[in-house]
């Protein structure tokens, strides 16, 4: 029970359809975890619940050392608690420059009054630049993010995620639309991050998951089917049935 995030017994029903069924999940403060599962297994809904987008019908989601009940917080509060999320489809603010996007994500006070009179210090500019370089957008700081390519947007979003300095990163299909080299880069970035952060990666691509070399949780029909190393779960008869059998 020393986990950073403790999810226990949550269920969600959409119009009679059970998207999440008595799901329990836990992750430590510095751990990399891959969540896999077929379409409709409830991966995205699970993330929605943790980030406050969807309210579960029952169950508990506890966070951090003080065991804060995340179900009582809204999305923004959860984000401020230190949970960052990268969406499946890159969602950056296309009307604004890369620098503005990163600056907005930069860890700082979030209340309107503080933000209104907030002025970026030299360190903030330096940090933005550093992040941009890290995600390969060092040259594109002044460009509108709407002009970026799909892959660049993915990177920008990862950069924004890093700028938030969250303790837990929820990363939804980070490799989609990336070149092979970029995938490698992403893998090493995530593995690096997991030394100090909790990272949950949702992914379809088994090769990518294998490269992450971490504990894997298999979701099926809204609940955990198997958990363990990739080799362990791929050897599981049920998992094989779910993935290959039908």
């Amino acid at each position: 029970m020393s986990g950073l995030l403790e999810v226990s017994g949550i269920s969600v029903t959409f119009d009679g359809f059970r998207a999440i069924n008595n799901l329990s999940f836990s992750i430590g403060a510095a751990e990399l975890r891959a969540v896999i599962g077929p379409n409709g297994a409830g991966k995205t809904t699970f993330m929605d619940i943790v980030t406050g987008k969807t309210r579960p019908d029952g169950g508990r989601v506890l966070w951090g050392e003080r065991s804060i009940d995340l179900l009582k917080l809204d999305e923004a509060q959860i984000a401020r608690e230190g949970i960052g999320r990268k969406f499946q489809r890159p969602t950056v603010f296309e009307d604004q420059t890369v620098a503005e996007n990163l600056m907005m994500a930069l860890k700082a006070h979030r209340s309107p009054w503080r933000v209104l009179f907030w002025k970026p210090a030299g360190a903030d500019h330096a940090r933005v630049e550093e992040l941009a370089v890290q995600v390969g957008l060092g040259e594109a700081l002044a460009r509108k993010s709407g002009e970026l390519s799909h892959g660049q947007k993915q990177w920008l979003e990862i950069g924004m995620l890093l700028a938030q300095e969250p303790r837990l990163l929820l990363v939804d299909e980070p490799a989609a639309g990336m070149t092979l080299a970029e995938r490698e880069q992403t893998t090493s970035l995530l593995v690096d991050l997991a030394k100090t952060h909790a990272v949950v990666v949702v992914e379809h691509d088994m090769d990518f998951v294998r490269r992450l070399n971490c504990k894997v949780t298999v979701l099926h029909e809204g609940s955990v089917l198997a958990e363990g190393s990739l080799d362990h779960v791929t050897a599981n008869q049920q998992v094989i049935e779910v993935y290959l059998g039908r």
């Binding site: 603010f93 009307d95 600056m103 390519s149």
Partner: protein, 408 residues
Amino acid sequence: MTQGFLSKNPSVLIFLSALAIFTLVITFLSNAYGAELISTSMVKTLGKTLCLCLIAIAMDLVWGYMGILSLGHFAFFGLGGYMVGMWLMYARTRDIVMQSSAGLPLTPQELSDAIASQIFGVVGTSELPAIWAFAGSLPFQLALVLLVPGLLALVFGWLAFRSRVTGVYLSILTQAMTLALALYLFQNDSGLRGNNGLSGLQNIPGLAWAGQDRLSVWFLWASALALGLGYLAAAFTVSGKFGSVMRAIRDDEARVRFLGYPVEGYKLFVFTLTALIAAIAGALYYPQAGIINPAEIAPIASIYLAVWVAIGGRGRLWGAVLGAAFVSLVSTWFTGGRAPDLNLGFYTVKWVDWWQVLLGLSFVMVTLFAPKGLSGLVDMFDGLRPPQRRGAPLGPDDGALQEREAQE
């Protein structure tokens, strides 16, 4: 800080200089201080236009930058006008009553009774309603100019944003609020003289000696000052990270939430701030107009405000100012009967009758063909082109409702 802010936003300096030059030119052409080339009523019209530009800035902040199409900002404008109008009417009536009283000096009770029967004779009561308790005090009433609309915006905004009503629903809701307020004020027992409204506001108590010629110029100065300060404040708000967050909320508020920003708080902040700007604009407008009644608050006025901002070009402050000034002045010109009739041979177009049709249609045209409004034309001259957008459309207005739908 201001140094850096102004140097980073040259358009603010340009705007402020233009405003100052405009004010000076009008002053030197006015009856009171110069060449007597511009009539006092024209000065008043220009002063009023400056106030309308100010509320257009408020609208641009809340709509152009934040994506909340409020159809209620004229309610705040009107409330500001009412608050200042109460003092103007009360103080002026008090002067009249004091002058006309003979014999014994009046007791406070007699004085307030006499004022009440003067003001409220038209609606058939002679009691001073409780909301007029502070009407005798200018500082109090000026505080109410900000307090009443501010509180209304705060309460309404809190209710509306808390329930995460967005898009078209929110617009309808703000329209409903405005309608409710207007209907309330239309009643005779609302305490604000029903559909008679407040009148004689152009006579400023204690300044009767100055005459309308000078007063009109003074109000022009005050309006220009307010517009300048409002522009500065708005430019400051939208320039930094706050402006970044505002535009981000407009484009994808759900995403902003996941960055940790309390979206509802921002909306409430901007909604209330713009309500205050609108209230100040109203408080300066109605002493120049001379009369305020509930019809001014009707939802249609706020919709016109959106029209001005859209025609001027939203998402830029000077575009909103331009739109408000242009459309309201042209509208005054057409509806004032000064525009020459257009003889088509088989039919004579009287602009008084056809101006609305023209406005409505040109508005449709602007929405269809020039979403950036008049300021978009300026871009074309500058050779600027909007950035090519790729990927999934998530622009300012794209499917805002659909996104909201997706959240349930």
